[in-house]
């Protein structure tokens, strides 16, 4: 699949990422590495264990990676999730009540992104 169709399928920002990463070769290389990234699994495992600090870090990492690669829907979903999980001064997630909804949105975006990238 071409990069164009891949980004169209997930709703990503190919133009932006080409401007930043400069070569299609590099975009393909890191899109492939994205599939190996364990942040999504870490996020699920951490939430299951109730380890909120680790969950925040995982969401935060997903946010960073998806932003770098121009995976816009995943970036937006994980960004909102990471904000909800961000520890406040007492070390407690700042908006725990929003986490389930945001988690579902992140999962959907992640699946869509993985499907699109896997077809590359």
């Amino acid at each position: 699949m071409s990069l164009e169709s891949c980004y169209a399928a997930m709703g990503g920002d190919l133009e932006g990422v080409r401007g930043r990463l400069l070569t299609d070769e590099r975009i393909r290389k890191f899109a492939a590495i994205f599939l190996e990234d364990k942040s999504f699994e870490n996020l699920g495992a951490a939430l299951e264990e109730g380890n909120m600090a680790e969950a925040f870090r995982a969401a935060h990492t997903m946010k960073g990676i998806s932003r770098d690669l121009g995976f816009t829907p995943l970036f937006e979903a994980s960004s909102a999730l990471s904000d909800a999980l961000r520890p406040d001064d007492a070390g407690v997630p700042s908006a725990l009540e929003n986490v389930p909804g945001l988690l579902r949105a992140t999962e959907e975006a992640y699946q869509r992104t993985v499907e699109a990238v896997s077809a590359l």
Binding site: R57, G64, R67
Partner: protein, 696 residues
Amino acid sequence: MEAPSTKKKQTILIVDDSAMNRALLADMIGDDYEILEAENGLQGIGQMQALGTQISLVLLDIVMPEMDGFDVLAVMNRHGWIKDIPVIMVSSESASTYIERAYGLGVTDFISRPFDANIVRRRVVNTLTLYAKQKALIGMVADQIYEREKGNSLMVAILSHIVEFRNGESGLHVLHVSAMTELLLNHIIQKTDRYQITPSDISLIAMASSLHDIGKISIPDEVLNKPGRLTDEEFDLMKKHTVIGAEMLDDLPTHHDEPLVRVAYQITRWHHERYDGRGYPDGLAGDDIPIAAQVVALADVYDALTSKRVYKDAYSHEKAIDMIMNGECGAFNPFLLECLAEVADQVQEELEVASLSDRTDREIGKIVDSAMRPDAASSRTLELLDYERMKYRFFASMSNEIQYEFTLDPPMLTVSDWGRSQLALDEIIMDPLHDERLRRAFGGDVLDAMEAALHATTPENPVIERDIQVMVDGAPRWFHSVSRAIWSDDEVPVYHGSIGKIVDIHETRERLMELQYKASHDPLTGLLNHPSARQAVIERMEAIPEGNFVFMILDLDYFKTANDTRGHQFGDELLRHFARRLMASVRDRDIVARVGGDEFLICLVDCHTDPERLVGRVYQSIIGEYEGFELSVSMGVACTAGGQYGYDELFRNADAALYDKKRGGRGGYVFSDMSTQEDGKTVISAIDGSEPDEKE
């Protein structure tokens, strides 16, 4: 792309918990740099500690496990690394509070997500270039100061040499006066701050001291170099060199506000004043004479005395010091004389080595240093530190010792290579007193106790030594630990942490224990031998002074027959069996020993039951038979309550009772009435316990 360079690549450390981020950044930075990676702050600090300024740049993430980016910056600040290693923060955090905090902690730049290849590369190159420029600039400024100071110093040297040349002196006089001035001033500031002299003042005064005699240029040659005694008129003329020199400086068309010129004025004018006011030209007294002039006056007199002049021979160092102390050259500040006395030995050494070139260079070096390095950790210091660290690591790996460094703030433990592999620990352990793995290896209470003991030391006595058990591969081993608490130099010393080493002494200790065991035990039966049993009983009696002790001496009857009829091997077997039987019939805390041959000893410790019944029970359980040999036992028993009798009395009386028992036929036991005296005379009224026939 830049042209390939033959230069060694610069090293960039990327600290980020996401492998993908590290890969992306490394890819963007390109192949022109050596890339190191660390997946959390702790590892990053470890790399910096190991490599120091070999790292040219750090790219640092904020949100990370173990230790986050801000904590890394805090550690870098505390160690002063941030001044020598530039940091670029990389993060998807774009909140201005984060960015401000990062800059506040000394980062050079901030790259926010998403990463842009051009921006990342540009920022990295810029920071490295900027940093290289800054270093080069520091070097250039230092060179310029050096050149300027060298120029000044050279002019002063030429000028003073002209004077000396005319004076027929060797040219060494100004050097000697300058060296001694410096020496005295350095000693003065160690003893008092009453004169408010800084180290750079000392350099200045030492340099200005070379000008003390410039006024002599106007003194006629026939007076200046007259071999004999001067007439009063000539002497008055000679005295004028002070005022003339001062006027020459005062009349300088420019520069007379320069610190060097002002100090030189004081010295030239007043270096012949005396503390009691009887010097010239102004008759100043006490501390009205500037300290610079007082010190140069003293140095001038000393060097004049120890040098050969047209009118006199050279005096020895000792003679010169004596003459000055006795006031033969006029009165000096008593405090200054005290200082002179204290540095007298150094004076002699210093003046021997004083030579023009090295003095000048040394002084200039000092001035440049103080101008360029207002704060402690210069890169030179860091280099030295790196070197020391390398040495330390080498020796640590050679010595099979585990060396460590512990700092309280941040709570951090650094362990040497060998120690890491030996104990399976990390090189750097944050908050070690709460570290699970460390507490498991050393035992939590051992760690707490050691830390408490170190904390309780004093700066005068900071070392503690102890033997501790450490878990190695799941089994305890003995180590000897030597630790030294680190106290600050403050008036009220502050505990900063400790350094130390632990050495594996397991084998040595095992061997020692084995020897100790051998020395205290009977090799055949493994029971205690007589001397160690005696010691053990006495220790128990001292520990429980109010306790009841029942003391039995027993003979295995007919043992000789067993030996004779069934052989010595059977005899040995028999003794071993009997020993096991004895052990099995008493409690752990009781003492069982082989006194010798077929004679044994039992001491029941701290008994709360009627001795009669106890002894009966023991007796019943040790008699019987072994492989067809009847175990018949004769026992003498002695008791003590509440420390009434000591060991030797118990032994003597039990032994006497046993002897008595055997006389009346073997088998059974007898209680002593404790009437046996030291001389062996006995008054036995034995209470017979049992006859052999009574046994079951």
